[in-house]
């Protein structure tokens, strides 16, 4: 009984990881194609569908963690997915004026390469049962050295450049007076989000450096 569940779990996770891998591969492919053929202003339009789909699918990973299907702690996946969804839906999809910015290109490429490596790694582990060769595994712990700074700078930059559009549109704002004496201003929330990046990014990068050191020292021992 237990082994049937294990097989089911591996089958489901293999399919999940490979499907999302394909999504992100599409994003990278279409982004580079649009960049070459039409220029950076057209990258978003080219990748919108697979991007929205692949990024939103990541919500499943929170569920996977909660029900114990995977071992990753919810506490670390939640902020990562949160910031991705915020950028994808809360900035890019909500404020079309920002879509032509060049940082969209660097964002999308940074995300896509990171996710392609990550999903193929987990896809192989679930499907074939083994951790890939030292090389591929190394790229998982080394590419972030470049991709985290480029990705995070793109995220911060896009939020910053979107601020005037956010303020002007009054989108997602809830005003007073009301009987619950509550208000929400999306513009100030965006500024708060920028503020969180200040301590959050070095913390995350530092954490990844630690993970890398641990993983590489472990491989040296093997």
């Amino acid at each position: 009984m237990a082994s049937a569940l294990t097989v089911l779990r591996r089958l489901y996770l293999s399919i999940y990881n490979w499907l999302v891998f394909i999504g992100w591969f599409q994003v990278l492919f279409l982004a580079l194609k649009a960049l070459k053929e039409s220029g950076h202003e057209h990258v978003y339009n080219a990748v919108e569908k697979p991007l929205l789909l692949a990024q939103s699918a990541a919500v499943m990973e929170i569920l996977h963690g909660l029900i114990g299907l995977v071992r990753s702690p919810v506490s670390s996946t939640l902020p990562q997915i949160g910031s991705r969804l915020y950028l994808t839906w809360g900035i890019l999809w909500s404020f079309p004026e920002i879509r032509t910015h060049i940082l969209v290109t660097s964002l999308v490429i940074s995300w896509a390469i990171t996710e392609i490596i990550r999903y193929s790694f987990f896809g192989m582990k679930e499907a074939f049962g083994f951790a890939p060769s030292w090389h591929l595994w190394l790229s998982r712990y080394s590419t972030f050295l470049v991709l985290y700074p480029t990705g995070i700078s793109s995220e911060v930059g896009l939020i910053y450049f979107a601020l005037p559009y956010i303020k002007a549109s009054e989108k997602y704002c809830f005003r007073m007076p009301n009987k619950w004496n509550f208000s929400f201003d999306y513009f100030y929330a965006a500024i708060l989000a920028l503020g969180i990046y200040v301590p959050g990014s070095p913390h995350l990068y530092h954490y990844m450096l630690g993970q890398r050191k641990r993983a590489l020292s472990k491989s040296k021992k093997e």
Binding site: M176, P177, N178, K179, W180, N181, F182, S183
Partner: protein
Amino acid sequence: MKVTLVSRSGREFIKGGLELNDSATVADLQEAIHKRTKKFYPSRQRLTLPVPSGSRERPVILNYKKSLKDYCDGNENTLTIVFKDLGPQVSYRTLFFFEYLGPLILYPVFYYFPVYKYFGYEEKRVIHPVQTYALYYWCFHYFKRIMETFFIHRFSHATSPLSNVFRNCAYYWTFGSYIAYYVNHPLYTPVSDLQMKIGFGFGIVCQLANFYCHIILKNLRSPDGSGGYQIPRGFLFNIVTCANYTTEIYQWLGFNIATQTVAGYVFLVVATSIMTNWALAKHRRLKKVFFFYLSNY
């Protein structure tokens, strides 16, 4: 007797160890360490007995009142102690004072000063009675807390890491400002007069009950903070283990019923979850120490 001090990595922490009287207490050892290292005053020191490598047991923390002899089993002349630096420490009194000072000072700023001008609102505004009563209630609450910190609470030897000052002040000061912003807002919508009276009335009753709970807790200890760990009895402690937290939670509920802001209710939920965790831990600890401790649940 000779005491060898090692760090958690096994390195000798004080070269050559320390020489102490056979009758010395842990407190004497702490003093000796402080004298030798200058930087590590006693509350910064975490002294434990070495745990055999591979063992998953939690290390035994030395009690400052006990004599060193109690921790030597067998050889009465040498003792190896593991040292850990807990970092700069502050007394709970200091910590509480700064935590509570923020809300006490920041809230009236939103009431008395034309703060909302900077948020784009006109200067002139109507002040509803409930906003004035809320100011009195809030400030009384934090004034009470500060008074209790200095005159009622009997703190044990325990201290808190300095970093907690920043963390706790951020919590209290941010929430204090967040709530003050909404209750004193020019576009604030008051609840009915009856609801306001029920809210504040209930809140005041709970604050008085909370004060009495603190008195009961204080009497469990002697003035220097010793008295160890005891089961509180009487009044609401016959119903719940941490009646002080219960009354505190309900007191905030009263404030929110009267003022009705999402900000206030968010604070209530967060504070309740924090205090609930503390209460569950205390209940578990009491049950472990006094395994005949009866409770209703």
